[in-house]
């Protein structure tokens, strides 16, 4: 009889007790029921009123807890994003994690000069191509708020550029109900129609309400559009501790979750069962510089807590960040902060993890950071997969062979090593373990320089599966109609 395998414990981080999770959840419900929120979209206001919300002063809404619970029940527990050929790519469900880039940086570190400069459309193309090339980057966001396209069409141009440069899923930004409809048209071209896009979505919209408790009309237009079309969406609101929200993490989370729940309720009222990614984005406002930090431990902690709340209460897949930094250049701070958030997001099993590659609290993007993070994700994954313990890995036979093999017998030359070293060890590609002399001979390159070289190589060599002429012509047409 075959012996039963010993299951491998895969380390998982818990930061909240069930009591803490419930207390934050109840606080969120209390905010909605007692404090209320400002809903500036007339249609959404009407729907909320029809669902039992109390409306006062025109657009101030108080929402009973049972309406919220209803929405939590009808939203799907699993969202799957597909690649642009319709293959399953990102099953977002409780144990799965996927990393990708971030949205909308004003500046970028130029790959050639290393200087910080205003982002252009070509940067969105390069970041997307890099994501396409990197095995641990699962989805693309634009990373650029380009200055060389008309500002009123900015997100349509950026989306078109991304579609041309990757076959992976895309998380996109839009301004309102107008441009999101054109972005949707492009996405339909790629999948060959609205129905196939609904069945196998490769896009997810990222929109933001405004903390505290303000829901602007243009933002709700996007939410309603996505609900109607079955396009997955997430709707955090900038409930950063000390900025849009109280300075203490528990209060900031309660507020952020309350705001997310408003989005969820409206979304489910529009279309029960439409996919909604949960996640309030709780970072901090730095008390010296007043920037929203992208390297702080608080954000990692709050999203680990959110993952716990998912496990205890919500069951919905969650949105998260990692691989970013407040450093201005890709230095030791950038590496430390990137790794801190990457491994903690993974250990807490956050599902869709964006913002990889941001420097300067999200204002500057860096291609080299993305290339570095790709390796840090691999390193973290190795750790998170744990230690398989079985006959093969205990390797008692190999031990006996080497121990009794006489002079010259070493593990390095044993068959067991040859058979297993590839998966038994983490084999770094960019992190340097070479001996001093070889490192010196190779030009004494630091991590930033090595990432720069690797990024240039990838951008030069990587081939993106091209879109058909028909799709490309369709995109040009949509861009022209402005």
């Amino acid at each position: 009889m075959k012996p039963v395998d010993t299951p491998t414990l895969q380390p998982r981080l818990k930061v909240l007790s069930r009591e803490q999770a419930l207390a934050i959840h109840f606080a969120a419900l209390e905010i909605l029921e007692k404090t209320g929120f400002k809903m500036e979209h007339p249609g959404a206001l009407e729907m909320l009123a029809g669902a039992g919300a109390r409306v006062s002063n025109g657009d101030w809404v108080r929402l009973p807890a049972d309406t919220v619970e209803g929405a939590l029940k009808s939203a799907p527990r699993q969202i799957t994003l597909y690649d642009q050929r319709g293959n399953e790519a990102m099953p977002l469900t409780d144990g799965n994690y996927f990393y990708g880039t971030g949205s909308d940086a004003t500046f970028t570190l130029d790959l050639e000069t290393g200087q910080r400069r205003r982002a252009v459309l070509k940067d969105a193309a390069n970041f997307t191509r890099l994501v396409d090339a990197l095995e641990n980057m699962s989805f693309a966001m634009s990373m650029a708020n380009p200055e060389d396209v008309p500002i009123e069409d900015i997100y349509v141009h950026v989306f078109a550029e991304m579609v041309k440069n990757t076959g992976k899923p895309i998380v996109f930004i839009a301004d309102s109900g107008k441009d999101i409809a054109r972005i949707y048209e492009i996405a339909c071209l790629v999948t060959g129609g609205a129905e196939s896009l609904r069945q196998k979505p490769f896009i997810l919209n990222y929109s933001e309400a405004i903390s505290p408790l303000l829901f602007p009309e243009n933002v709700m237009e996007k939410l309603i559009f996505c609900a109607e079309k079955g396009i997955p969406i997430c709707l955090p609101s900038g409930s950063n501790a000390g900025g849009g929200a109280p300075v203490t993490l528990a209060g900031a989370m309660a507020l952020g979750i309350a705001e997310n729940l408003v989005g969820l309720v409206v979304h489910q009222l529009v279309n029960r069962g439409a996919p909604f990614l949960f996640g309030p984005n709780v970072s901090i406002l730095d008390m010296k510089s007043a920037v929203v930090s992208y390297g702080c431990p608080e954000w990692s902690l709050s999203q680990a807590a959110l993952a716990d709340m998912r496990d205890e209460i919500y069951g919905l897949p969650v949105w998260a960040f990692a691989g970013a930094s407040d450093a201005k250049v890709m230095d030791a701070q950038a590496g430390a902060e990137a790794m801190f958030s990457i491994i903690s997001a993974m250990l807490s099993r956050a599902n869709l993890i964006h913002d990889v590659g941001f420097l300067e609290y999200g204002s500057t993007s860096s291609l080299e950071m993305v290339t570095m993070a790709n390796e840090l994700v691999a390193m973290s994954r190795y750790f998170t997969e744990g230690i398989p313990v079985n006959k093969e890995t205990l390797a008692l036979e190999a031990i006996e062979r080497v121990a009794s093999g006489g002079p010259g017998a070493i593990f390095l030359s044993d068959d067991h090593t040859f058979d297993h070293f590839m998966e038994a060890q983490f084999l770094p590609k960019i992190l340097d373990r070479s001996r001093y002399d070889s490192w010196k001979e190779a030009g004494e390159l630091n991590l930033y320089q090595r990432c720069n070289i690797e990024t240039k190589r990838l951008l030069a060599e990587h081939q993106v599966a091209p879109k058909t002429d028909e799709v490309l012509r369709g995109i040009e047409q949509i861009l022209k109609t402005g």
Binding site: D104, R118, I151
Partner: protein, 212 residues
């Protein structure tokens, strides 16, 4: 001049109650409102601002000091003639049309106020017409505009144009800021100044008006 050390200390500590008591005590002791304002309050806030710039104190501490100063200034106001200058200058401020974000703008307002400017805050989603109307009414030295979204930035040059058409552009300095705004953008739309954060908004405002 009576001893303003206790007042100064209370403002530094953000202790409004003591600061107000000390202001009253200084007045009762026959101190001039002008001296109390200049030497007790404005000088202290300059020091607080400096401590902040050096990273010795945090934003909430500075805002608390600013609030203490504000309360004390209110106490002094009756001692000044109408039209007498009690502020460093008047600033009209708002988040531009289409944009509803106000945390950054509010922080700038509070910092400017703490530094001794008189603020008229128009709130969010302020149309060019509203900026023009209020500029006429308030006659500010500086018009400040904020935008968080790149898609609402075009409202900045539109507002400047509206000020021009109304013949008001030459009477005010225009200062802009917000996450997507850059120095180069400020130059492009012919704003007079760009501030990258609330702290530098204060020094830029002083620079614009040629004061320290």
């Amino acid at each position: 001049m009576s001893d303003l050390k206790a007042l100064s200390e209370a403002v530094v500590n953000g202790d409004t109650k003591t600061a107000v008591t000390e202001t009253q005590r200084a007045l009762d002791a026959g101190g001039s409102a002008q001296d109390i304002l200049n030497e007790g309050l404005i000088a202290t806030m300059n020091e607080v601002g400096e401590r902040y710039s050096k990273g010795l104190i945090f934003v909430p501490q500075m805002l608390r000091s600013g609030k203490a100063m504000q309360e004390c200034t209110n106490l002094l106001k009756p001692f000044f003639q109408e039209g007498e200058v009690t502020s460093k200058g008047k600033v009209l401020i708002g988040t531009v049309r289409g944009d509803l974000h106000d945390i950054g703008k509010n922080l700038v307002s509070m910092m400017l106020e703490g530094a001794g400017f008189a603020i008229t805050d128009l709130g969010v989603n302020v149309s060019p017409e509203k900026f023009v109307e209020k500029t006429r009414e308030v006659e500010p030295d500086i018009v400040g505009m904020s935008a968080l979204l790149s898609t609402t930035m075009p409202a900045m040059p539109q507002t400047i144009e509206a000020l021009e058409k109304a013949g008001l552009r030459n009477r005010v300095k225009v200062m802009i800021g917000g996450a997507p705004v850059t120095e180069r953008y400020a130059q492009k739309i012919m704003a007079d100044s760009y501030a990258s954060d609330a702290g530098s908004a204060v020094s830029k405002a002083k620079e614009l008006l040629g004061i320290s």
